[in-house]
Amino acid sequence: MNKRAFPALIGLSLVFFGVAPILIVRAPNEQEMGLIQKIFYFHFASWMAMYLAILVLGISSALFLFRRKPSADRLAVAAAEAAVVFGLMGLITGPLWAVKSWGVWWTWDARTTMAMILELILVAYLILRAYGGPGSDRLAAGLGMFAMANLPFLYVSTEIWRTIHPPTSVVPQLPVDFGLPLWWSVAGFIVLCLALLTARARLEEERATLDRLYLALEDE
């Protein structure tokens, strides 16, 4: 599955990313925020990709924990790294937008707080994988499930509290001029996310093979 999947995915994501700037440049400026609103197309898309990566992380963690599938564990590592990467994009593009439209780089409103917490949990996950040593894989799977449990809170955080951050519910109501470049970018980010997942899981598979080889060599 891996053999063709990665080239196809990375090629497809390049197509998406190549066309996206054209669509975004041609999209009309938003009335109140003007040019800066165009950050939104990549900002929102990177969070969507992070949601996807965290879903993959949570589900594969559960699969590893309850079904003991080693391949699920490898996918979980890949998903956690991808989630950190896309979360970083979201956390950097967010302030660049906020400094223009809110007047501050960062504010602790419900959405930004939850996003930062989730990013911290994922970084903690990677630290655990790197320094936990043997026996930490199951703990990491538990942590992955806790990360996924935070996802609904992140999603509804703008609906529960009245906050400065625009609510998620504006997205489906966007006019087509804004909607097309937005969903195009989201598709591009999701394909990129899948490509990164494939490549990273591949790396983990090869590491596992290498470990088996070394074990075989020691046995001889």
Binding site: F6, G11, E32, I36, A195, L210, Y214, L217
Partner: protein
């Protein structure tokens, strides 16, 4: 002697495919980065003073930050992070594959 290990997961001809494609993607992506600022820089000339732009309530208009550099920075950051991450995967794959090849050679000579 019997082979204890299972190499079916990583046949040899496959190992370099991911790396090769990652390299191509890296190169194209770098071109994209070089192209991105020009695309963004070209834009303000078309729409430098968007109609109906309402300034922040308490910030006078002359103190407003220009939007174009922030926008360009955001897009460049996204590109740099994506390509940087792809590059780290590519490098890690390279070192693991090298080690894998070494180990396989050792197994082959031992087994022969």
């Amino acid at each position: 002697m019997q082979r204890l290990y299972d190499m079916s997961a990583v046949p040899r001809e496959r190992t370099t495919v991911v790396r090769r494609w990652a390299l191509i993607a890296l190169c194209v992506g770098c071109l994209g980065i070089l192209g991105a600022p020009t695309a963004d820089a070209a834009q303000p000339t078309q729409q430098s003073a968007p109609d109906g732009f309402v300034p922040m309530d308490d910030v006078p208009a002359e103190e407003q930050l220009p939007a174009a550099p922030l926008l360009a920075a955001a897009y460049i950051v996204v590109w740099v992070i994506a390509i940087g991450y792809l590059w780290t995967i590519w490098r890690r794959l390279g070192s693991v594959e090298k080690e894998l090849a070494d180990a396989m050679r050792r197994v082959d000579t031992d087994g022969a």
